[in-house]
Symmetry: C2
Subunit: 129 residues, 2 copies
């Protein structure tokens, strides 16, 4: 088990701040999802609105702005008949890839576990009828 040590049980200040920053930036319902979709290549606003199922234009615009301000994506206005805007990942965004992978792995294990627990519970509930 590899574990990062911070002296005597004390998370140093920088580490705590870094952790909070990361959670704030990538947390919430949509961020990781948006980044993941952009990983397949540049996407227009409309594309994202369709791919990221359930997101509203308002929220999408907000999330994209935050990601742009944090240098994870680039916004480009294209010279097309109805204006289109493209969003693509910056190299920095690929650093978030590890977070995505870890979350996906953890989430998958977690789902399997909870599913197993539920089926166990329902079978013991049957016995209680």
């Amino acid at each position: 088990m590899i574990s990062i040590k911070f002296g005597d049980e004390k998370l140093c200040r920088e580490a705590r701040l870094a952790l909070r920053d990361a959670i704030e930036l990538l947390g919430g319902k949509w961020k990781i999802c948006i980044l993941q979709h952009l990983e397949f290549g540049t996407k227009r606003f409309k594309d994202l609105q369709e791919k990221v199922v359930g997101i509203s234009p308002k929220v999408l615009a907000k999330e994209l702005l935050e990601l742009e301000q944090n240098l994870l994506i680039t916004r480009t206005v294209n010279n097309t008949r109805p204006v289109t805007v493209s969003y693509s990942l910056t190299p920095h965004a690929y650093e978030a890839q590890a977070v995505y992978n870890a979350l996906l792995k953890f989430g998958t294990q977690q789902r399997a576990r909870v599913k197993a627990q539920l089926s166990h519970k329902s079978s013991s509930a049957e016995r209680n009828v």
Copy 2:
């Protein structure tokens, strides 16, 4: 760059659900922080309240309950004069370790980047005076 493939740009349903579950369970202001503190060993409610700076007993109780229900921690009532309650990680919790590490790494890089950007901006702002 290792990237998990989901066929033709389509996140399969299970993967999307797993991702959401993980974000819901580990997201928010306190969860990762609490797990990290428990990694140094069993802690009582009071200990956690002191170590996790700024958390209120109400929120701590809520977070601990959620973690327990998701099988990441164990709650034990001790036979002490004023009752004490111990919380410790289950083996499953160690699977969240990778998420923590990835977040910490990402957050650290992110902070460095944003810091650099700010100092650049302020120097160009000086030129605009």
